[in-house]
Symmetry: C2
Subunit: 199 residues, 2 copies
């Protein structure tokens, strides 16, 4: 990796928590220079605009999320077990977010949902990938006979995503893990109800 590429990656890694904590419009160039230890010109050497850096920081956050799911799911066999693992990865966001400041998907989605912007496109794509991971797990479980054939992969994906992002919001607002505990228990009961009864 060239020195320039290393600097670029360091800027992104240091900017991501700032954007995720303060929001894109709430982040000033002076906060970015402070976090990266570079002058404004040093940042502009690598990114043409604050928005370009914001996009790179969002992509970086999404990559960390993907790695986290991949690592947790490695070696997990069976749809129900994999769904429980996905639920737990989300639950861990409260104590240990992928990037400081909470869930980058939730934060970005809420901030950019009023405007058509490249960030909104990125947030949609990342949220769709997340729901596809859940939906594909349900589909595989139906195909293997582990889950009930009437389970609806898209419905499960939407319900799990809505509920866990909402629980992250509540947990962070109150600094209290209780809403997430209720959510994890509820989603695990849903998973139980999706498993075929084998008499």
């Amino acid at each position: 990796m060239s020195k320039g590429e290393q600097t670029r990656q360091r800027i992104v890694a240091r900017a991501a928590p700032v954007f995720n904590t303060h929001g894109y419009s709430g982040t000033s160039m002076s906060e970015l220079t402070k976090a990266t230890g570079l002058e404004k010109g040093g940042i502009y050497n690598h990114f043409p605009s604050k928005e370009a850096l914001a996009l790179a920081a969002f992509d970086y956050a999404v990559e960390l999320i993907s790695q986290r799911f991949a690592a947790a799911l490695e070696g997990q066999v069976g749809a129900a077990q994999r769904l429980r693992t996905i639920v737990q990865v989300f639950a861990d966001y409260l104590d240990n977010p992928p990037v400081p400041g909470g869930c980058p998907l939730l934060n970005t989605a809420v901030e950019v949902d009023d405007s058509d912007s490249p960030l909104r496109e990125r947030a949609r794509a990342a949220m769709t990938d997340l729901q596809r991971l859940i939906g594909a797990t349900v589909k595989h479980g139906i195909a293997s006979g582990e889950l009930r054939p009437d389970a609806d992969p898209r419905e499960v994906a939407a319900i799990f995503t809505a509920m866990q992002e909402g629980a992250i919001m509540l947990g962070r607002l109150y600094g209290d893990p209780t809403p997430m505990r209720y959510t994890v228990a509820h989603l695990n009961r849903i998973i139980d109800s999706l498993v075929c009864a084998h008499p």
Copy 2:
């Protein structure tokens, strides 16, 4: 109402959609002067700071939400019916938010969850009131014998709130009502499951 008080209320009503759409840190004084039709000095005549106006705008949004729930619940008898009404009030946010820009509680909670600020206190209080409305409805239903005695009012309140705020986020991100439709159906099934079976 004095002319000054009328002007103050007009500023708040016009500022609330701006804050709810762009966020508190994303809203500039020039956007506020444009929305209110006043000069900066005219706004500062009534509010000592942008933050003071933001607090008043949040309180105004919460008041509109309270009125909406009160109007929908008027004359609704029975805990299950009242819970279904609460679910539907939330579902209507997508097409018809209490203030343009989505759910003010969700937007504010996500924006301010990293800092201790008066706005975070307000967002917590409003989210708690909302959960108390749900929890009290469950409690009354248990007391009247309509709902199962093992229903947990706090759990129901947290799950309903997390799921509907998450569904509002998804619905607005995609401009698609499907996640909210799944959510409404799921929450109505939960309500059905809370009702005592009377053989």
